[in-house]
Amino acid sequence: MKRLVISLLVIIIILPAVFTIAKNKKGYKVVTGTSTNTKSIGKDELSRIFLKKKHKWGDGVRIFPVDLVESRKERTEFSKDIHNKKVSSIKAYWQKQIFTGRGVPPPEKVTDSEVLDYIQQHEGAIGYVSNSTSIENLKIKVITVTDD
């Protein structure tokens, strides 16, 4: 009986977390340096950061977004989730920005380790990597993306 109660309690505690993880399961996670004072960010704000419409964190530190290359599936998923647009539409947006002289896109990295290196080298940087990529022993943290 005692074992049954304990088992039920464990299930009750774990089950919501399992459902939450399943619900929020994306192929990527958004990461920043540990010195960035942000734990969560709204989708709209994140989109504006990556479109370079928002330039500074709340504490005045400059934001350096870093993208993955077009061929990465994490990029496709990020673009759909956050910008609500296809990667090709975002690329076209940046081409207009470049060739009207208004701005240049965030750097694009091929591998997750390049993204993580970039974030560690640039205070205020933000990027995204595959969920399976380890950030252990790095000065990097995951931030939660919330629906607006």
């Binding site: 330039h55 400059r62 350096f64 207009k96 060739f99 009207t100 080298q121 640039h122």
Partner: protein
């Protein structure tokens, strides 16, 4: 064939050399990169190479024998001095086959050279040789990967004629906060720019074709544009206008058919770009002070995206000149003082295939009726418009 020049030319290609030397010096003397700052210099570019052929008349530089001397290219150097300030130089190269305006083409021309400062997220100023914000396409005229067809609609963008890509001057831009569903961008600018003109005439004695090319100068030009982004994602409305004094060139010199004149123009545009299709339309009205001469020009363009890569595009345009003053001899014969005609009508259909965001192949066909033909002297006062079919196959890329 004899080629005549008007006296004043504002070719700025030679001015590119000192800018390029500056760029070389930037490269030669290594720019320090600190551990926290991003690289300050960005280099981008685009290239479109085309093969074009017409069925009979030569039009827009496209002869009936075809030409691959048809290309646009640019190289842009953007240097971010700090968060708020940057300096941009764009060099360009354009080849338009056998176009009469090809004599004005420098192999490498200075497209833009400006300094920009952002006072805030809303206000910014640009000084130098800057793009004129005018309509949907004026600032991206030659960026092949962004255009549905090889070139812009002649009505209203011309081909170097009667509209300029840049102004030597100053612009101020205000942008509303973009989290407002109805957000807008307003720009005003002032300075000097130029139009290019060409005419074909027949030598009165020999009957030989004489091609005249000239550059009119717009002095004390002022303009503005309002871009309104609607709550419908992808739909925006544009209103723009310009005012200035046009002098020199073929039509606006003291001895020209029109003489120096004040001009004003206005443009309205709708740009609807959705996931599966797009629709764009622009209408230009241009008038000259103290004359009845008016230009009405406009186009409509639509496209359907069969997939992310493949689209079918169609376009119709019209350029109409109203109340153009007749030469005295014709005025006497006809009993009229002015004349209205359709200078250009063009219908186009094209296919666009995107290998990726940066590589695009286009195939398009145009049916044109008007007075843009280049190998004969066609007088709108006396002769009917010429019909021409032409095709363009182009590959565009950017980086």
């Amino acid at each position: 064939m004899i080629l005549h020049w008007s006296k004043k030319k504002s070719i700025t290609g030679n001015k590119a050399t000192p800018y390029l030397r500056s760029i070389i010096l930037l490269f030669v003397f290594y720019l320090p990169i600190t551990g926290v700052s991003q690289t300050k210099l960005n280099v981008h570019g685009y290239l479109t190479q085309a093969f074009a052929i017409s069925d009979g008349h030569q039009i827009l530089g496209i002869p009936s024998t075809g030409t691959s001397d048809y290309r646009t290219l640019a190289l842009q150097f953007r240097f971010d001095l700090d968060e708020a300030s940057n300096f941009v130089i764009q060099l360009s190269h354009k080849k338009t086959g056998k176009s009469p305006l090809a004599v004005l083409e420098k192999d490498i021309a200075l497209d833009w050279a400006f300094f920009q400062h952002k006072f805030s997220n809303q206000y910014s100023i640009k000084v130098g040789k800057i793009q004129i914000p005018f309509g949907i396409y004026n600032e991206v005229r030659d960026v092949g990967v962004l255009l549905p067809f090889y070139g812009l609609p002649y009505a209203p963008y011309g081909e170097g004629g009667y509209m300029s890509e840049t102004v030597d001057g100053l612009s101020i831009t205000f942008m509303s906060e973009d989290f407002n569903p109805w957000n807008f961008e307003f720009s005003i600018y002032a300075g000097h720019w130029s139009w290019s003109e060409w005419f074909n005439t027949k030598n009165v004695f020999s009957g030989a074709l004489e091609q005249q090319v000239g550059i009119a100068q717009i002095e004390k030009g002022v303009g503005g544009q309002l871009v309104l982004n609607t709550p419908v994602d992808g739909l925006r409305l544009i209103a723009a206008g310009q005012f200035g004094r046009v002098v020199d060139g073929l039509s606006f010199s003291e001895n020209g058919i029109l003489g120096p004149k004040n001009f004003y123009d206005g443009l309205l545009a709708i740009d609807a770009d959705f996931e599966k299709y797009f629709f764009r339309s622009e209408f230009l009205f241009l008038a000259l002070d103290k004359t009845d001469v008016q230009v009405n020009a406009g186009y409509a363009q639509a496209g359907y995206y069969f997939s992310e890569s493949f689209s079918l595009n169609i376009q119709g345009e019209m350029f109409r000149v109203n109340y153009l003053t007749l030469p005295p001899i014709l005025s006497k014969i006809t009993g009229k003082s002015s004349f209205s005609f359709d200078f250009d009508i063009d219908y186009a259909i094209g296919f666009k295939y995107n290998f990726s965001s940066n590589y695009t192949l286009k195939l398009e066909g145009h049916w044109n009726k008007g007075y843009l033909v280049e190998e004969i002297a066609l007088s709108p006062f006396q002769e009917k418009a010429a019909e021409t079919l032409y095709s363009i196959l182009s590959l565009s890329t950017s980086f």
